[in-house]
Symmetry: D2
Subunit: 361 residues, 4 copies
């Protein structure tokens, strides 16, 4: 409940899109970890709207203010709270709230869930803006993982029919993962242009596109995780599905494992440089919910941006009447680019949480 | 932690494959719900090994004994514990424990996680046998959902290249969901024979196959769930990934949403019989983590059974040496058939938990 | 973990005494509840320092700013965050941190717990100031309880050897509970002067005194709570012990039950106005962890303020040397007066949480 | 919810007094800890009914059967389940359920809480019998604490007006704590006879008596615990109040701290044998929710056994009529003797849980 992940660490996200501020409280972080706030801002900038036509032209200055939990540049171990103030907060016009459900948005379901009392402005608590505090938390966790030699990274694996290369699931390096942390996060430089074309074309036809994000971690120690409900897949999934627009997740070879034989899918173990590894990595670095020491790999599917500028059929859920809807404003024709750091953030939170949860007495 | 799902209801699974017993404690069930134990046994029988060559020939009599929480045929509201005793418990031979990692199993990762102290016999706590208590819990939750007009069902959507029909994601009925609760759970009668051939062929070549299970719920009220970390997708995923061999999950049109435009993906709202519905159901019945009133639909991928009879290369993780492994015994050439009720159980637990979590004061 | 209460509602407190801000996130509040912010401020003012010599002369303007979760004057049902900014924030002087343990404070234990990384200024996260956000949360919960006819109240039952009357544990009314919500919260007007004298006398001799607070709730429905670990006593205790300086708690006749016979202690049931009640209320309104419908009553002991102006023997816990300590600054000679609304806040959070946890589907 | 403690370790208790079995699942125990089952049985025997007139003459053979989580004499790290079968289970006579509320019992409140569906036989899930699985869990945790040099112990501090000595709160030793683990757990041999007389006298007059239990831990490392809601007092209290009949708890000098000045109450720090200690221990080994390294000490009050053989006035809560009640059967005239190991068990669970929760990465 309460937009809160409760694991080895706790991450509680609050705020509404048009409210005074959005933010996050992170509990149970290890104490004494140096945190570089510039790097946090870099991380969050990867999520910020782009000036290149791929995203909304709104001006979101998502500069986090740390309220607690950092002292003298290090985590205190007590709850870390960061806020992002909404400077261009709209004056809420209570008399003119729309009750027309935007298709593929949570207007209707949120209205039912909260008896009509939730803040509808800009999607309220359901807004994609709430991924900004998630990224803050992910950036902090990522730095703590880096202190332990663990690196994560993510890239656009696909936008519509244009596919990037995939990470090498056996040999991917921290360097390669860091290299994709850029404005347009793809591995292959040739696909960027094609993807941009697809997005531009969608925008020009008042439409939107979705895609797939691939995320990986290297350096994560073997033996972390738990069987059944607290496996790494379980907690990564729980966090990834907190990003709006996610429709699916798969680990390792994922859905394609259904197409091959066991003899093809099984990753044989061997010894390399005195260390136990697998020759292939169809299992995506997780066996029985527990890390194997191989790169952890997953992919997650994002639906096309629900907000499109074409007229759509819908209903007024208060009046219970059919109507037509035209969504105004500036919207991302493709959320996938900005979703990449969000996926990485979810991975970071999950991995740090599992490490803390597995600490031994 | 502790193989426990903690939500509106709690489900805590315990036991090892070759231990005295496996079982489950279910906490916070609504009180006074009639429970039909025969129907529970029917549910669990769908998970039991088949006599038709598709699964292991071991004889597992998975008859649950209810220890607490049912009184006079009804739930008491206090914790419900059920046990399944392991009658053919192997005498553990402590001197002869294998430290050879079976590929795609949790032998190696479990050994690391528990410092070598976990019970390795038959996979111990990582065994697929632990889905029996999960099915028990799912069967109980399913009956309580039925009391509220909610029906769930699942079928094999695919085994290797053989595909069943899918549920009609808009019009699927409780009757159709109940109809697939049979020995070989498929919708189309023509695919059964083909799937059996694929499985037999795999078994004959000492191999195994995986597949995809589709699960749906109808009658679930709109407005149940929560944004971000406690959405229905989040908790369904957390529970589905507790089933060994699951590699991915997708809701609604899932990964294929990455291939289409927003204008195609958005489900327009309309009014039918005075009720707000969507014309299509790409969203799989969940928007913003909250039920829309449309059928809830997801699919989940199962890898091929890791245990195959062919020799495999592996390592002794205690000696840290390379070796070859031949797995003896009788194994399921395809776990997907028996996985179908497990997926349904995970759905049932998730939905009842969300209902309880969303009860209003 | 993480200074967070996790129940039917979640209350997560963050901040450090000399940090930028302190605050609270409240999750899972019922939606659509009208919240009167003036009444919240009144509640928090009862905790503010007094101008009458009974407390510190510091000037704390504890005006909460609501960041999220209230829309149009009502709870949205999504997380409610409130912040209290520290306007007179001291510039932290990193070079001059004391490592001398103030007796009865958490300086030494906090240092060990957080490897010396916690913010020590003014007690940091251990400061009594953190009860301000607790009071905010308690004020919000209290208003939601009032909407359901439930009233809570607390008073100083004792300061050193001066005792107030107790609440009538059978017949106490909402009116009586509201009447003690005043600057010096006692029932009997004659004890106020005597208590003030004791406090003044302690202050004049550079010393401090403790006391006992009694808290009650009326109108709380019978049948709410749970056996064993989630009984009302368990969750009230968990919350009350989050207030610094609390050393004990007792329900109903509490420790004095050890002195009487079962025949004296047992509260016989009878029927009054068609309703089942008990003739006496030694059980304090809770039986088996569940409310009986009688007033809920508990008392809690507060130790004397640890900060006294006399020289004290202590140690430097970094240098591991013995030393003497003189605490400067302005301190409350008695925290009990300001603790009264904190105890009430803990009760409010516990009761609303139990109501939400017990909502039926 | 669900009679489950959720901390660094999880302890979930299930069962009804007259059901098939009662038991416990313990999650997240450290792996590889040797467990001596004979010592577990010794621990539980301290809770068993005595043959000396101080307790019920019922014959409860509380021999636990371990179902999972122990392998080769060591904890596996996966959930540990133990069951206690109810061999003299009464055949439930459904037609003749009493709806007369026994004073000071949970019959009435439990009936309301569970809509009349809970198992009423022998108190059902509210029975004091449920402390048997709690003792099992406490015995296991206690052995794991002993592996780390931590010892706990408890004794009867008072029965009615007869008081035992108290533990020396500064110098108490493991040896002294172990010495009171005997049939009649008191420190001073002279009080035993007097306490027995008080109990016998109560039994002879068809009455009962309560008392106070004191519990201590030595060897617990300094720096374990957390501020606010997860302090050691909070979690110890949550567990202690899970024992039926507990009415209060106090740490260190507890309620008596209200009677003394700050200058008397503050425990000055000093250095002894190179280690930081306090000269006195009014704080009971906990400051700011965190252990100080001094002995942890608390006392807890038990009400007199509610079941007395005298006629009592009561109500039929189904018919809503007044009536008289005579409780038949054999009851403990004083539960305090048998409660001593239960209190120790609660302490053990709390301390191990805090250690696990505070493990560092």
């Amino acid at each position: 409940m309460s937009s809160c992940f409760k694991g080895g660490i706790d991450v509680s996200v609050f705020g509404e899109s048009h409210g005074k501020a959005i933010g996050v409280v992170i509990g149970n972080l290890p104490a004494g970890e140096e945190i570089d706030t510039d790097k946090i801002i870099d991380f969050m900038q990867r999520r910020a709207p782009k000036k290149d036509g791929t995203s909304t032209t709104r001006n979101e200055k998502d500069i986090p203010e740390i309220m607690s939990g950092i002292y003298n540049g290090k985590t205190t171990g007590t709850p870390l709270c960061a806020m992002i103030f909404n400077f261009d907060q709209h004056s809420s016009d209570y008399g003119n709230i729309s009750h027309i459900a935007r298709p593929a948005h949570a207007d209707f379901t949120g209205y039912l869930r909260y008896n009509g009392a939730n803040d509808p402005g800009g999607g309220g608590h359901f807004s994609g803006r709430l991924t900004a505090p998630l990224c803050f938390a992910g950036a902090v966790c990522g730095q703590i993982l880096e202190h332990r030699g663990i690196t994560t990274g993510a890239h656009i694996e696909r936008i519509k029919n244009i596919c990037d290369e995939r990470f090498d699931d056996v040999n991917v390096t921290a360097e390669q993962l860091n290299k994709v942390k850029k404005g347009f996060p793809v591995i292959s430089c040739v696909v960027e242009e094609k993807m941009r074309e697809v997005i531009n074309s969608a925008r020009n036809s008042l439409d939107s596109v979705g895609g797939i994000v691939e995320c990986a971690a290297v350096g994560f120690p073997a033996g972390i995780g738990s069987p059944m409900m607290d496996g790494l897949e379980n907690i990564i999934s729980q966090l990834v599905f907190s990003i709006p627009a996610v429709k699916g997740i798969e680990f390792g070879n994922g859905f394609s494992c259904a197409d091959i034989f066991g003899s093809e899918n099984n990753d044989e173990f061997c010894i390399a440089n005195g260390k136990i590894v697998t020759k292939t990595n169809n299992h995506g670095g997780i066996l029985g919910g527990i890390s194997s020491g191989m790169p952890i790999i997953f992919r997650t599917a994002f639906k096309p941006t629900p907000s499109i500028s074409r007229p759509q059929k819908s209903v007024d859920f208060k009046a219970i009447t059919e109507t037509e809807l035209v969504i105004k404003g500036r919207h991302d024709p493709c959320v996938v680019i900005r979703a990449v750091p969000c996926v990485e953030a979810a991975m970071n939170i999950a991995l740090l949480s599992a490490l803390v949860d597995n600490a031994k007495i």
